[in-house]
């Protein structure tokens, strides 16, 4: 598909864990057959709990983890089993904003150096141009030019995240992976960063993958949403379909789990999931969600449900996707 910025086709990333001498080697299927597309200028919300494979998926798209199976096509570059991409080209196509801006910035580099180094590495040697682009990028994320010579520890959490965003955008990438970009920030700062990310997306025509467990944030920023559970996408669709007409019980459980002081959500408390997430090393047979599912039937234990269409652009991997609760 030529008009897609990113296409994942049956992507799988497996890890071998354990020791052959002690207990044997097991395969951890962190990502297990994910097919996804992202159009230019689109924001995909990626939702799931710890261990569902969302971070592994992000690293694979960044070209940092080789796929076990399937292919990634990002901005015309192919990544597959044994074909690793050109790092320089990748860096100009995909960038990442991390959860903890303090841990992901070099404490011994000033803002100027953090932003200028990538430009130099990518062949922009004219000092005046580098300086102009650094100052311009700082202005875009709401930092003042005189702050360029400061170190990360001199900034507050929100400002550090602005630096993290500036660093991700300095090479003018097309796709930005935002991995929980506001979770580590003070609550009163989050709105600033969310607004900034949305403004930059419109201004620069960016595409985002917004990885978050905060469904309020995901609903606010996403055009489409994909929900992951134990390595697979269990439901995907437009933001409105996912939040107003969720068809997978896990999606419903996630929405029901959000504290809702206004009692406005359409999802009732009965949709809450029971028990805990199974280990990805040893996922339950059939549908991985069945031990926690209120709709569980014999079929769910026997067969993994296909990710089939509910409506145009809306898919759910549930045997009972048409059952309305």
């Amino acid at each position: 598909m030529a008009d897609m910025l990113l296409s994942l086709d049956d992507l799988a990333v497996h890890f071998k864990v354990g020791n052959a001498l002690a207990g044997g080697v097991k395969t951890l299927k962190a990502v297990d057959g994910v097919t996804l597309d992202i159009k230019p200028g689109e924001c995909l919300g990626l939702v799931g709990e710890s261990g569902c494979g969302k971070s592994t998926l992000a690293l694979a798209i960044m070209g940092l983890l080789p796929p076990t199976r399937g292919t990634i096509d990002v901005g015309g570059q192919q990544i597959g089993r044994g074909t690793m991409p050109d790092r320089m080209e990748m860096a100009r196509t995909v960038q990442m904003v991390f959860q903890d801006p303090y841990a992901s910035l070099n404490p011994r580099q000033t803002v100027r150096r953090t932003l200028a180094d990538p430009l130099r590495i990518h062949g922009i040697t004219d000092k005046a141009e580098v300086e102009a682009r650094v100052i311009d990028m700082m202005a875009k994320v709401g930092l003042r030019p005189e702050q360029a010579d400061r170190y990360p520890h001199e900034f507050s959490g929100g400002q550090r995240q602005r630096i993290g965003i500036a660093r991700a955008l300095i090479l003018k990438p097309k796709l930005v992976l935002c991995d929980e970009p506001v979770s580590a920030l003070d609550v009163s700062i989050r709105a600033q960063i969310i607004n900034l990310l949305l403004e930059l997306k419109d201004e620069l025509g960016l595409s985002y993958i917004m990885i978050s467990h905060d469904l309020g944030v995901v609903e606010h920023v996403s055009d489409r949403v994909a929900v992951m559970y134990l390595g697979r996408i269990v439901e995907q669709g437009g933001w409105q379909e996912i939040f107003e007409d969720p068809r997978h019980p896990y999606t419903r459980a996630l929405i029901a789990a959000i504290p809702d002081p206004f009692h406005r959500a359409a999802i009732s408390a009965q949709a809450k999931a029971k028990g805990e997430i199974a280990s990805a090393l040893n996922p339950p047979p059939g549908c991985h969600f069945h031990p926690r599912c209120p709709l569980k039937a014999d079929l769910c234990v026997a067969e993994y449900p296909p990710l089939d269409a509910v409506a145009a652009g809306h898919r759910a991997a549930c045997h009972f996707r048409d059952r309305v609760i």
Partner: protein, 325 residues
Amino acid sequence: MSTPLLKVENLRIALAGGGATYNAAENVSFEIGRGEAFGLVGESGCGKSITALAVMGLLRRPLSLAGGRIVLDGQEIQDAPPAEMRRLRGKRIAMIFQEPMTALNPLSPVGRQIAEMFVLHQGMGWREAMDRAEDALRQVRVPSPERRIKDYPHQLSGGMRQRVMIAIALACGPDLLVADEPTTALDVTVQAEIIDLMAELCAAKGTAILMISHDLGLVANMCKRVAVMYAGRIVESQVSDAIFAHPTHPYTRGLVDSLPRLGERSRRGRQRLREISGVVPSIAAYPAGCRFNPRCPAVTDICRTNVPEITPLPADGLVRCHHHG
């Protein structure tokens, strides 16, 4: 109102550092009735966790209690000797922490850690105590408690560990449970279960809860009344429903307005989030007058010089603002 279970009056907590002494919390006053759930909400550094530690008698250098009274069931405990506090803790007041892995003893099976409560506080023999520990695990809905009782903390998942913490905290039927961010380290679907479990067990045993969290929605859902802290002071306290419907302090209003709420986009389309400008001040640089004044949209001259007095609101509420209403 009859005598409250816990009465905190004009609490002042001092922080010594760098040759100076700061007030990490001041003028903190609140009451919790028997069996009532009370929430204390604020961002990191606002003084909510140290308030909880003060109630537990667990303040350690560089923090110390510099003034005020803590009255538990008619008995002043702020100056109680350590031996007396040790007897109270666990028996009358118990605490759950954010990260159960660091709060549990990694070298002791969880059953033993629960049984210890019965041995220490109720003088029970170990054999009987272990039976009771098994019951306690069953009550917090840990599957197959007869086997889990022998597990070490690292063998349990995060949610299971937090259940063990709850079992320990509630073992001796305390009058007050202090829960400091009890679900922040957990996944959202697990969080929902743990909150429900805590609320249910405390309601059944008539245990009051002091819930500390940065998540206003979570607290408002669980607690009857909520107090909001900012920079070491309580700025507003109201019945939970009222705090969302009529937030009175500009900071509370900012918090309620700034977060993307589930369902908001479906109802009104995507609106730009309302930001709270600026950043949380550091303790060494608290502004004079109202501490929110540099960030406040309604600031006037008096806010910069005079600390606002407490103004009562309907239904036992209060607000600390020159321009409320």
